[in-house]
Amino acid sequence: MKMTPLVLVLGGIIIISPVLLMNVLRPWAIWQTERPSDIFRARTPLEEKGREIYVNNGCTYCHTQYIRDFDWDIGAQRISKSGDYIAESPHLLGTERTGPDLSQEGGEHPDDWHLAHFVNPRFVRPDSVMPSWEFLGQENILALIAYKQSLGFKQADGRVERQKYWKSEAIKAFEAGPDKNVEWLHGHVPEPWTKLPNPYRTSVPGLDRGHRVYQSFCIGCHGPIGDGMGPAQPFLYPPPLNFTILQNRGITGGILYYQIMNGITGTAMPYFKKDLESEKIWDVGNYIAVTFIGETDAGQPTRGIDVSYEPVEDKK
C-alpha cells in the first residue's frame, strides 16, 4: 500500500465518520427520546448556581454521581437510571471516589451539618481529606448546600422535608431543658433497645478500641472530653450532646447503640450503620458510657451466656 497525504486524510475521514456516528450522533439521537426518570425534577435557580460552583471548583474529581448495583455506601438504596441525567450539562458522572458518591446525597444530612462540613470537613468527619471551602464565602456555600440537598431530586426532597420536621422537634426538645431533651431522645428509641444493657463486659482493650472509633467519628462534634464542644459545635443547632447530662437519666448500652447506629435525623448526628459494624458500635458506646457519662451497664449479670472470647472470671 502506497501512502500519500491524500490517502491519509481520506482514509482518516472514512474511519472517523462511522466513529462519530456511533459515539456522538447515535447517543445524542437516543437521548432525544429519553424520558425523565420517576424521581426527576427541574432544579431551582439557587441549586443551579450551586451546581456551577461544584463544576467550577472540580468537586467531580473526588465525588461520582452514579450508583452501581454492587455499591454499599450512601445512596445505595437506588441504582442510577439514565432518565436521572436528562438535565445534566456538563455531566458529573466522575471517575474517582476519594469521597462518597453524591447522586442521592440530598437530605442525608441537615443544612447545618453541611455548613460545618464545608467550612472544614474535618469538623464533622475527622478522617476526611476534602479541602476546606470557607474561602468561597457564605453565599456560595449556601448555594452549594442547596445543590447538594437537591441531589436525588424528588427522593431528596422527601428526605429534606423529613430532616426539617425532625429538626424542629429536636430544637423544641433541646430548648425545653436537659430533662425533657433526654426524655425526648430516649423516647424515640424502640422499647427493647431502651432496656438492653451492653452485653459485653468493660475491658481496657475494648475501651481503647472505642477511643479509636471515637476519634474517627465523634470527636468533631462531641469534642475530646465529650462535652459537645467539638470544633463543629458553633455551626450546629441543636448543638451536639454534652454526654454528662445523660448521667442518672436512665441511659443504657442499648440506647447508645441504637442512637449511634441510626443517628438522630434532623440533628447533625448521622447514622453510622454503614461505617461501623456491631463490635465497633458497642465499643464506642461503652467508651462514651465509661469515660464521659460515668455509668455503664456493660456486662451486667443479665447479659446471657458469655461470648466465647471473653476472659474467664475467677470462680469465687
Binding site: 501512502m3 497525504p5 491519509l8 486524510v9 482514509g11 482518516g12 475521514i13 474511519i15 472517523i16 466513529v19 462519530l20 456511533m22 459515539n23 456522538v24 447515535r26 447517543p27 445524542w28 437521548w31 429519553e34 463544576v55 467550577n56 471548583n57 472540580g58 468537586c59 467531580t60 474529581y61 473526588c62 452514579y66 455499591d71 454499599w72 455506601d73 442510577s80 437510571k81 439514565s82 438535565a87 445534566e88 450539562s89 456538563p90 455531566h91 458529573l92 458522572l93 466522575g94 471517575t95 474517582e96 471516589r97 476519594t98 469521597g99 462518597p100 474535618r122 468527619r125 478522617d127 476526611s128 481529606v129 476534602m130 479541602p131 476546606s132 471551602w133 474561602f135 474517627s216 461505617d275
Partner: protein, 463 residues
C-alpha cells in the same frame, strides 16, 4: 520574528521542559493535599480540586503534547527530506499553543472550569488549541505535499493522521459550538466527554509517540524497520479501534448497552495495534540493545516502549466489567493513567527531545549525565507510582466491594498517599534537572572547532 531552521521544534522542546516543571509542582501540591488537607489553609488557588485539572492538562498538553509536537515537526521534515513548509507559521502556532495552555490553566486556577476531564479549559483556550492544531497540521501537510522524498515513512502517517483526528475529537469533545458550557446534555454528554477523554490519549499522545519511536528506534539501532506491512496494520487498526473505546470509562453507568459492547470488545482488540507496533520495533532492535544504552534518546524511547506494553496489557484487562468492579473509581486507574500519559508517551517524548535537540542545535546536550540522572529518577518514580497507586487502589476496591464505606477506606490508603507524595519529589527533581539541562543546551556557548568534532562523534555523524 527570528526564523531559523527547526526553530519551531526547538521552542516546542523548551516549552515542554517548562510545562513539565509546572506540571510536577501541581502534582506534588495535590499529592501533599491528600496527606495534609489543611496545609494550604483555604488558599483558593491552591485548593486540591482546582489544581487537579491543571495538573492533568499541563501534563497532557503542556509537557507531553509540546514535546511530541516539537519532535513531530522535526521528524516530518526529516523523514520527507524537506524543510518545514513554514518556520514562521510554526512559530505562530507555537505561541498560540502556549498562550492557550496558559489561558486555560489560569482560568482553572481562578475557578473557571467546564468540568469535564481533560476538557476543562474555557472556550477561548479551546479555540486557541484548535487553531494551533490546524496550523500545525497545515504546515505538516504542506511539507508532505512538497516533499522531496517520494516514499512517506511510517512516522509521517502517524503525525498527519494524529493531528487530523485530534482536531476532530477536540472539536466535538469540547462541544465548542456551545461556548458557555462546552458540553451537551444528559448521559450523551458523558459518552461524548469520554469519547474525547480517551481519544486525547489515544489519538493525540499515542500516534505522535509511536511516530517518534518509529523514527528513533531504527536510527539508534542503525537497522531498517523490520516490516512495512506490520506498520500498515498497526497504523490503520489503531485508528479504527482506538476511536471507539472511550465508553469503558463509564461502563458502570446506565449508558446504552451497544456502547458498552463496543467499548469492551474494542479495548481487548487494542492488543492488535499495540502488539504490531511493538513487535515491529522490537524486531528492528533485536540484538542491538547495547546501542540503546549508549544513546540517551534511545534509552528513554526504549523505556517508554516497555511502559507501553505494560499499559496496553493492563488496559484491556481493566476494561472487563468483572475487573472493573474492583478497579474502577479508585487509585488503580490513577496508576494506569500515569503509566499511559507519563510512562509511555511522556518518556518517549523525552526520548525524542533528547535525541533531536542536539541535531537541531548542532552541538551535544549540555550534559548527558544530567539527562541520565533524570532518566533514572523518572524510571524509579514511575515504577514507584505504579506500584503504590495500584496497591492503594486494590485496597480501596476490595474494601468497597466487601461493604466498607469510602470514608472508612481513607485511613487505609493514607500510607499510599504518603508514599505517592514522597515519590512525587523524584518527579519534581527530574523536571527541574531537565529544564536546566535543556536551557543550557539551547543557549550554551557556541561550540569551538574541537568541540564540534566531539559533537559529531557524540551524535554519530563521525563513525
Amino acid at each position: 520574528m527570528k526564523v531559523e531552521e527547526n526553530g519551531t521544534a526547538k521552542l516546542f522542546f523548551l516549552s515542554s521542559a517548562f510545562w513539565f516543571v509546572l506540571g510536577t509542582l501541581e502534582g506534588i501540591a495535590d499529592a501533599t493535599d491528600m496527606v495534609v488537607p489543611d496545609l494550604f489553609g483555604g488558599i483558593s488557588w491552591l485548593v486540591f480540586s482546582r489544581i487537579r485539572p491543571m495538573h492533568t492538562t499541563t501534563m497532557i498538553f503542556g509537557f507531553v503534547g509540546s514535546a511530541l509536537l516539537g519532535a513531530s515537526i522535526y521528524i516530518i521534515a526529516a523523514v520527507l527530506r524537506t524543510p518545514l513548509w513554514s518556520e514562521r507559521l510554526g512559530k505562530v502556532s507555537l505561541w498560540i499553543w502556549n498562550i492557550s495552555i496558559a489561558v486555560g490553566l489560569i482560568a482553572l486556577d481562578l475557578g473557571y472550569s467546564q468540568g469535564r476531564e481533560y476538557a476543562e479549559w474555557i472556550w477561548p483556550a479551546d479555540i486557541g488549541i484548535l487553531l494551533a492544531f490546524a496550523l500545525i497540521f497545515y504546515n505538516c501537510f504542506q511539507t508532505a505535499v512538497k516533499r522531496n522524498e517520494k516514499i512517506m515513512y511510517v512516522s509521517s502517517w502517524y503525525i498527519l493522521a494524529g493531528l487530523v483526528f485530534t482536531w476532530i475529537i477536540y472539536f466535538f469533545g469540547n462541544a465548542v459550538w456551545n461556548p458557555e458550557k462546552g458540553a451537551i446534555y444528559g448521559l450523551p454528554d458523558g459518552i461524548l466527554a469520554w469519547f474525547y477523554g480517551h481519544g486525547i490519549v489515544g489519538l493525540f499522545l499515542t500516534p505522535l509517540a509511536v511516530a517518534v519511536a518509529y523514527y528513533i528506534v531504527p536510527r539508534v539501532a542503525r537497522s531498517p524497520l523490520y516490516s512495512h506491512k506490520l506498520s500498515l496494520v498497526g497504523f490503520w487498526s489503531i485508528l479504527i479501534i482506538y476511536t471507539h473505546i472511550g465508553s469503558h470509562h463509564i461502563l458502570q453507568t446506565p449508558i446504552p448497552t451497544y456502547l458498552k459492547v463496543i467499548a469492551i470488545s474494542g479495548s481487548i482488540a487494542m492488543i492488535i495495534p499495540v502488539m504490531t507496533v511493538l513487535v515491529n520495533l522490537w524486531l528492528t532492535m533485536r540484538g542491538r540493545l547495547g546501542l540503546f544504552h549508549q544513546d540517551i534518546g534511545g534509552k528513554f524511547v526504549m523505556a517508554g516502549l516497555v511502559w507501553y506494553i505494560i499499559t496496553c496489557i493492563q488496559g484491556p484487562i481493566q476494561a472487563l466489567p468483572v475487573v472493573q468492579r474492583m478497579t474502577h473509581l479508585n487509585n488503580w486507574v490513577i496508576a494506569h493513567s500515569h503509566l499511559g500519559v507519563f510512562g509511555f508517551s511522556g518518556t518517549i517524548a523525552l526520548g525524542g527531545l533528547y535525541y533531536i535537540l542536539p541535531r537541531i542545535t548542532g552541538r551535544p546536550l549540555y550534559s548527558t549525565r544530567l539527562a541520565d540522572v533524570q532518566y533514572w529518577l523518572l524510571l524509579l518514580g514511575m515504577a514507584g507510582f505504579f506500584g503504590v497507586l495500584t496497591a492503594g487502589g486494590l485496597v480501596q476496591g476490595n474494601s468497597w466491594l466487601n461493604g466498607e464505606t469510602v470514608y472508612r477506606t481513607l485511613p487505609m490508603i493514607h500510607v499510599y498517599f504518603v508514599l505517592r507524595a514522597s515519590i512525587g519529589v523524584l518527579f519534581v527533581g527530574a523536571a527541574f534537572i531537565g529544564l536546566y539541562n535543556i536551557i543550557r543546551s539551547i543557549v550554551g556557548e557556541p561550540a569551538t572547532e574541537s568541540q564540534e568534532f566531539e559533537t559529531e562523534q557524540a551524535i554519530g555523524l563521525t563513525q
